[in-house]
Amino acid sequence: MKLFKSAAKPVAVARELLPTPFFDKLDAVSLVKNWHEWNGYLVADVVEAVGKEYFAIRNQSTLFDISPMCKYRVKGPDALRVMNRLVIRDVAKIGVGRVGYAMWCDEEGMVIDDGTVFRYGDDEFMLLCQEHMFTWLHDCAWGFDVSITDETHNFCGLALQGPTSFSVLKEAGLESVADMKPFDLREIEPGLWISRTGYTGDLGYELFTDSQYAHQLWDRLWGAGHKLWGLIPIGFDALEIARLEVGFLAPGLDFQPVHVVSRINRGRTPFELGFGRLVNFEKGHFNGRRALLKHRDEGSRYHLVRLDIEGKEPAKDAFIYSGRDKVVGHVTSAVWSPTAKRNIALAELEAPYGGKVKNGLWAEIYVYKEGAWQRRQKKAVVVETPFFTNARSRKTPPDLF
């Protein structure tokens, strides 16, 4: 049997991690050369210093390279039906030129991944997410009239986030974003898409374009914002603090994408992750619907909750106790929030803890001090609202500085 039908030479598969379309730009300004792998690409953990980068998110503006994010275009007469079959929310309610947060489940109602749905047109969507979904989308679309293309590698993206981000755009000649409301999506110039979205809970935008225009886009924003508006590139570590302050979930940390785990009972339902309100049982069948009805009626087995923990030591990997000696869960992400000035965490607790029972919780934190481990029991309080919110992130038009 012939494997390669065309006369063209097969393209070799790269063995090393790939540079993103913005890598050269980042590399040129990176002081610490601290990289890690994301979806086969080299991305920065830190460009210069975490603290500086974090405070730029909250006080200036920042660029974060989101190119490695999985991006799938779903297009065709049945595109809306396929998207609605995929995710738990009603996609019909995401208008053209809008973006919506979504989760999707397997047949048992366990979350496969979460991400954002960009509606480009009546019959055209882009799904942005962490996990690889190409095969899943094809399975999902079987019997429907749509085409699915993986745009991950030819569509690059930058997240521009921070209070001065609108000022940066204005300076860059993109002032027409002024009237864009949160979750709006627009082709601001031919081939340049912009959405008022982000992972920081601050004022911010995400910009997407064909990878061949990556450098042009970078230079344009850099030129407009670096000197005037304190625009700097950031890495993952700073972003991690910001997203925890808002309470966004990180797949692999706060929940285990069910297609990736091999152990049974590691999957979680949207109810268990605190996203029950997204599940729309009225829109017709969608994947996992029958199982989710059962989960809804039988109640959650776990609760993912926000915790405010006494003291200053981040409760990373801590066990959560009810009273002094009953382990009822563990912390999935934790950080000291510089803006809220609180010791915050996301934790998964076994029901009824975190649900009906919210009091009497303690975090057991391990602290390493100069060659010795200390164990500390700290009071943990369940918090219902994000640790960080601000009006500027939603104001339209946004404030200039």
């Binding site: 039906r81 399975d139 079987w142 019997g143 429907f144 069948h285 994947n287 619907r289 029958r290």
Partner: protein, 520 residues
């Protein structure tokens, strides 16, 4: 077209024998049932047809192998169906054929056969284990998804009971059962006897309808399935169609309505529950429950993939259903003669499988989409065993290892090759056959699929193999007849326990939906 006024409790799609058994079972409890059949004739794969003026022939199925006596008793069919076990002649190239009559094997000329004892032992074993498994065919496969909860306790008990029965077998039998149940018939037979007609017959009986050769694992299980109610098949007087007629009588007497020429094009579904069906042509009929006797995949398409989880659709798309069996019916001008077969013996079943190797070799070709050099054939000549048709000469042949996925596809030329191959093979044993043929009807697997809707034209509507059995038939998570959408049930050969003219699937499905409470 106007909407139908009447609302039924249950609509059954397909008037094959399973659909009819479902209908009759539910009608007994006063349910209003309507059976919709796309053909103008009732009976599906088990129906008779008029092959030549006034001459009735079994269109596809012709013998009863695993006809279920429990189902027959429940429906009150026993008295209505005239059937008797028939002897088998395993044809030999050298004319020294072998006969199995009343369980005993000898040469057709009456002489003792050296492998008679070995044959008897294998047959005893397979029948015994088959009988042990038989009760499993009469209940829904256990639901393992609930673990060992209270609700699941009944299921667990059913499994435990099988375990218990196995234990009561005694250690030796138990060990033997576990040793052979998943093994292959080739090794099982050839461990006990040299290859030849006897091993060939066992091999053939294990593989009828299957995409499997005697060396394929699971073929011993298939033989147990076929021999569960005795190794000797029986020939129903007036064909398999007579069985269908009897079920139709019972169903109609209980008020079941059967509409022919009524092809269902899709289901009506509202709020994740069926509300009825839409016929080709557009008219709608409503019902609380819809049962489909089609294969699992076409049944899913009838509801629409949008009503199924992605994983389910993927599983259903991958159900293996590649038919391997064709049917060739011949009308003959005069009574055929087979050398070495007596006048009395000609009323029996004939099997052309002179060795297990022959059977395996035929499969080897067919699995790559080619015609075998020589196919495995079972034929009966009902005209000589059925007084009603005496004077008319019919040869009904099941031709095994005729692939659905034939290289080059199924066109007229391919069908002519099927006819020629069948006649060539038969002619080796029936010398003057060719001149004697008045009419030929050759039904390829592709044709059978087109006519009956059976996926791949497959005997069981889906391979009956260890990965598509019991709790994973038709696919994982759907073994208890309920088919995704509330009120939608499978009831045909594609569901547990599989095909053959047995009626078990149709009966089990009806009982399960009553238990599920979808009619209340």
């Amino acid at each position: 077209m106007a909407q139908s006024e009447k609302r039924y409790d249950v609509i059954v799609i397909g008037a094959g024998h399973n659909g009819l058994v479902s209908a009759a079972t539910l009608a007994k409890l006063g349910k209003r049932v309507c059976v919709l059949e796309k053909e103008n004739e009732i009976g599906g794969m088990a129906r008779n047809y008029e092959i030549a003026d006034g001459l009735q022939a079994p269109r596809i199925a012709h013998l009863l192998y695993n006809y279920n006596p429990v189902v027959a008793r429940e429906l009150g069919l026993a008295e209505k169906i005239d059937k008797a076990p028939i002897s088998t002649i395993a044809l030999s190239d050298d004319g020294r054929h072998i006969e199995i009559a009343n369980g005993a094997l000898r040469y057709a000329d009456g002489a003792e056969h050296p492998d008679a004892a070995a044959y008897a032992e294998i047959r005893r074993k397979i029948e015994k284990f088959g009988k042990l498994l038989a009760p499993l065919a009469l209940r829904s496969p256990p639901d393992l998804s609930e673990g060992l909860s209270l609700a699941g306790a009944g299921e667990a008990a059913a499994i435990a009971k099988l375990g218990l029965e196995l234990k009561m077998f005694g250690k030796k039998d138990m060990r033997e059962f576990l040793r052979i149940v998943l093994s292959n018939i080739y090794d099982l037979a050839l461990d006990e006897m040299p290859d030849g007609e006897v091993a060939g017959l066992l091999a053939a009986d294990a593989v009828w309808g299957a995409w499997a050769g005697p060396r394929s694992p699971g073929t011993v299980f298939l033989l147990m399935y076929r021999y569960a109610y005795g190794a000797d098949p029986s020939l129903p007087k007036r064909g398999a169609g007579a069985v269908v007629d009897a079920i139709v009588d019972v169903a109609r007497s209980r008020g079941v309505e059967i509409r022919t020429g009524a092809a269902v094009s899709r289901l009506n579904i509202k709020n994740d529950a069926v509300t009825g069906v839409v016929l080709e042509g557009g008219s709608e009929i409503s019902a609380k429950v819809v049962m489909s006797s089609l294969g699992a995949f076409p049944s899913m398409k009838m509801a629409g993939p949008q009503h199924y989880d992605v994983e389910t659709v993927r599983r259903l798309r991958n159900v293996r259903a590649k038919g391997m069996t064709a049917k060739v019916n011949l009308v003959l001008r005069q009574e055929p003669k087979i050398g070495g077969v007596s006048l009395a013996q000609i009323a029996g079943r004939f099997v052309i499988a002179p060795s297990a190797k022959y059977v395996e070799r035929a499969f080897s070709k067919a699995k790559y989409g080619e015609f075998p050099g020589a196919p495995v054939i079972e034929f009966v000549m009902p005209m000589v065993s059925d007084a009603a048709q005496r004077g008319r000469y019919l040869l009904s042949a099941i031709v095994q290892y005729i692939p659905y996925h034939l290289k080059g596809g199924w066109d007229d030329a391919a069908r002519d090759r099927l006819t020629a191959l069948t006649i060539d093979t038969l002619s080796q044993y029936i010398p003057e056959l060719r001149e004697n043929i008045a009419h030929v009807d050759a039904l390829s697997p592709a044709f059978i699929e087109r006519e009956t809707g059976a996926p791949g034209g497959h005997w069981h509507h889906g391979e009956l193999s260890t990965d598509q059995l019991l709790t994973v038939r038709p696919v994982n998570g759907m073994s208890r007849y309920a088919f995704g959408v509330r009120g939608y049930y499978l009831c045909g050969a594609g569901a547990h326990p599989g095909g053959g003219v047995s009626g078990a699937a149709g009966r089990n499905s009806a009982l399960q939906l009553l238990k599920d409470g979808v009619l209340s």
